[in-house]
């Protein structure tokens, strides 16, 4: 295999696939990047078996072939001195020459035959397939990824639950102490609905793989894997084999009090209160009255009290909440106001962003 390619193009594509290279794997071939050429296009691929990423681009002066190069290739290409890169693979032993400017690397590659398939198989029919705008997908992930449990062994709570119904998809996540749910519009390509669960840890990569230029993303669910693709880029995500609890059942519908407060002011006040909040639960006490929200926190180091104006309907109440949980939502609240709905003392608090009515976040209180 032999090719010539602009260094910046190759570096950018390697950057994308590098997110999937495992630092240590029981399967040595995975600790590298697959380079595969069909004569017109170059495909790069990497996988840690949780997530697989591939990307392809047009190349000139190329021969067909494939090779797995060690992960070091990512940094090597990034640091090459010249504008273009010449790569030449010795098909007998996979030794690969990389030349750019006056620099001349030889990397000891291995055969690409053992590398697992990263892309979706084109002959398979997807369980469901749809297209979605990148900004819509990114918004939904932003609104749900923060309440996933990143502690190992939490089953369904380690993932984001996707539920596709006709032209709408909803995403939900919970670490059992809080729950986030949101939805967005999609174009359903084969009219089929589906529910599936994807580990939150690998979904975080979506933002690093796709950017605003990608515009519309194609999504497809094939047995056991969920694929997102756009342009030459494709990412496959392993599914979690757990049952996510029924979200609609736990969201309260009757409220004792509904309040609205300036989101930035609340965020700043909680950031101050958390400095003196107690223990690992970072408890703050909220007293909600007709036109005033009082935030209190205390620990062995001292105490803080701060008042914020608020508009409210319903009865006044006091509730203790984990400030960190509230801040997680406020950081992702894009509207000027944030609405807080209360069911009662020792009952959940529901937070909403009026700019995104589909987004709902529920925090369970700290029992005092």
């Amino acid at each position: 295999m032999r090719l010539s390619v602009p260094r910046s193009v190759l570096a950018d594509h390697l950057q994308v696939v590098s997110r999937a290279i495992p630092s240590r794997s029981t399967v040595p071939v995975l600790e590298g990047v697959l380079f595969e050429s069909d004569g017109n296009r170059m495909t790069l691929a990497a996988t840690n078996l949780e997530i697989g990423i591939s990307t392809s681009f047009a190349v000139s002066h190329t021969e067909t072939g494939k090779v797995v190069l060690p992960a070091k290739v990512v940094d090597i290409i990034k640091r090459l001195p010249g504008e273009s890169v010449q790569i030449n693979v010795d098909t007998a032993n996979y030794h690969t020459d990389i030349k750019s400017g006056q620099a001349d690397f030889q990397l000891y590659g291995t055969s690409g035959d053992e590398f697992p398939a990263v892309k979706a198989r084109e002959d398979e029919t997807p369980v469901c397939t749809f297209t979605i705008k990148i900004e819509e997908l990114r918004r939904m992930l932003r609104q749900t990824l923060f309440s996933v449990s990143y502690e190992e062994g939490k089953g369904a709570f380690n993932g984001v639950f996707f539920s596709l119904k006709e032209e709408k998809i909803s995403l939900s996540s919970s670490d059992t102490f809080r729950l986030a749910t949101t939805s967005g519009a999609v174009q359903n390509k084969n009219g089929k609905d589906a529910d599936f669960l994807i580990p939150g840890r690998i979904l975080q990569e979506v933002n690093r793989i796709f950017d605003d230029e990608d515009d519309v993303i194609t999504a497809a669910l094939y047995g056991g894997r969920f694929f997102l693709s756009c342009g030459g880029k494709e990412a496959g995500f392993r599914l979690l084999d757990d049952n996510f609890p029924n979200v609609s059942r736990v969201i309260p519908s009757d409220f004792y009090a509904r309040a609205s407060v300036d989101a930035i002011s609340l965020q700043r006040a909680l950031e101050r209160a958390v400095l003196l909040s107690d223990g690992i639960n970072q408890v703050v006490r909220l007293a909600v009255e007709q036109d005033m929200l009082t935030i209190r926190a205390a620990s062995k180091y001292g105490r803080i009290q701060e008042k914020l104006p608020l508009s409210m309907e319903g009865e006044k109440l006091e509730i203790s909440l984990n400030a960190r949980f509230m801040l997680d939502m406020l950081k992702n609240c894009e509207g000027e106001a944030c609405s807080l709905d209360f069911v009662g003392h020792n009952k959940p608090c529901v937070m909403r962003d009026p700019l995104h009515p589909q987004f709902l976040y529920m925090v369970l209180p700290v029992k005092t």
């Binding site: 919970s174 059992t176 102490f177 736990v250 223990g279 203790s320 369970l364 700290v366």
Partner: protein, 395 residues
């Protein structure tokens, strides 16, 4: 300058038996576990027995050979606790600033006691005499201006020692000593220090602190300070009140490797640990499992949970996972131990959970079982799995 006294009871367990039964005084008393149950090691030997070469942690059979006339006594922890409390009562007559360090050791800060009781040396002599007269218990005392030096001083002379060790004496007295004699330098630290060329306390004091903190972190800095005789830590009367960990271990009557048998032992241990944990009013976040195999190789592995727990079930599941994950199944197990640490006070700010209906029901059940056991005794209610006699059949 502060005035600190360290009181260290001599051969405490053995002395307690001798204090209770005057007939044992002056005779070689050996407190040891049951050899039949394979717990046959010497816990404490009286000085009369030590004269024949008996040492702590020696197997009973070996001690018998060395000291055939020795009186072997099973440990009686209630007796020791009772004497420990009576010792504390006497120490508290001098100052409220008493920090018990273990069942048989304590520090006193007598800086402000001069007008009432005279200088620290007089107080130390007086309390040593009183412990001897009122309780018939011997002790060694160390006097200095900080806790570390006071403890190092009381270690210098045993039994019935009286040692004064002020910072200006450190180069002459402490520095020539092997570094292993220093409080805070354990079995694991010695070889590392030796590798760095440190054999004596003086060499440790002369070591650039940068090298020590590079190797041991914060502990390196502390060791360096101690070796120079510096210790600012206050005598804290509440230090022992705050429980730091709760643990139980058992040496098994025979080596086991069958996972089902291991699980049963683990459940029993976790049940005991969890109950003591709940009694202390705490929740724990870290579970550690210690395994000693048939070759006497010890291994400890720990896991930290996302949220603190007081439930037997959660501790048991974690301990079981550690066992499955970290210990080879073929290893024959001689001793199992479960410890929980990273404790927080229960009840203050309990984060409610959305899908935690199961654990709340379990908590209610646990509370009920605890109340029943409090009222009718620990044996009144038992998990079915633990209702096994040694023959394997139900009780």
């Amino acid at each position: 300058m502060r005035r600190i006294i360290h009181v260290d009871m001599n051969a405490f367990f053995a002395s307690c038996h001798q204090a209770r039964e005057p007939g044992l005084r002056g005779r070689p008393v050996l407190v040891a576990g049951d050899p039949g149950e394979r717990r046959g090691i010497i816990l404490t030997a009286s000085y009369e027995a030590r004269a024949s070469g008996v040492k702590t942690a020696m197997p009973v059979w070996q001690a018998r050979k060395l000291c055939p006339e020795g009186l072997f006594i099973r440990p009686d922890h209630r007796l020791y606790l009772d004497y420990s409390r009576r010792i504390l009562d006497i120490l508290l007559r001098y100052t409220p600033l008493v920090e018990p360090y273990s069942i048989d050791e304590a520090w006193l800060d007598v800086t402000g006691c001069g007008r009432l009781f005279g200088p620290a040396e007089e107080i130390a002599l007086d309390l040593q005499r009183r412990l001897g007269d009122e309780l018939e218990l011997p002790c060694s005392v160390g006097i200095s201006s900080n806790k570390f030096l006071a403890k190092m001083a009381s270690e210098r002379q045993k039994p019935r020692g009286f040692t004064v060790l002020y910072p200006e004496q450190v180069p002459a007295v402490l520095w020539p000593l092997p570094v292993g004699e220093m409080v805070g330098v354990g079995r694991k630290t010695i070889p590392v220090l030796q590798e760095m060329g440190v054999a004596t306390i003086g060499q440790l004091a002369a070591m650039p602190v940068r090298l020590l903190s590079g190797r041991f972190g914060v502990m390196g800095e502390i060791l360096h300070q101690l070796a120079r005789g510096h210790d600012e830590s206050p005598v804290d009367p509440s230090a022992l009140d705050s429980v730091k960990s709760v643990g139980h271990s058992v040496t098994l009557p025979r080596d086991i490797s069958d996972p089902a048998e291991v699980d049963t032992v683990l459940l029993d241990l976790c049940d005991k640990v969890a109950r003591r944990l709940r009694r202390s009013g705490c929740l724990a976040r870290t579970v550690s499992l210690t395994v000693r195999d048939h070759n006497f190789v010890n291994m400890t592995r720990a896991r930290t949970l996302g949220e603190p727990t007081g439930l037997t079930e959660v501790i048991y599941h974690t301990a079981r996972e550690i066992h499955r994950h970290s210990f080879e199944p073929w290893r024959k197990i001689r001793l199992l131990g479960v410890t929980v640490s990273n404790l927080t006070e229960a009840g203050v700010g309990h984060q409610l959970s959305l899908f935690g209906a199961d654990s709340e029901r379990l908590e209610r059940l646990t509370r009920t079982v605890d109340r029943l056991k409090d009222r009718f005794g620990d044996d009144s209610l038992q998990r079915a799995r633990l209702c096994q006699t040694k023959g394997g059949g139900p009780k």
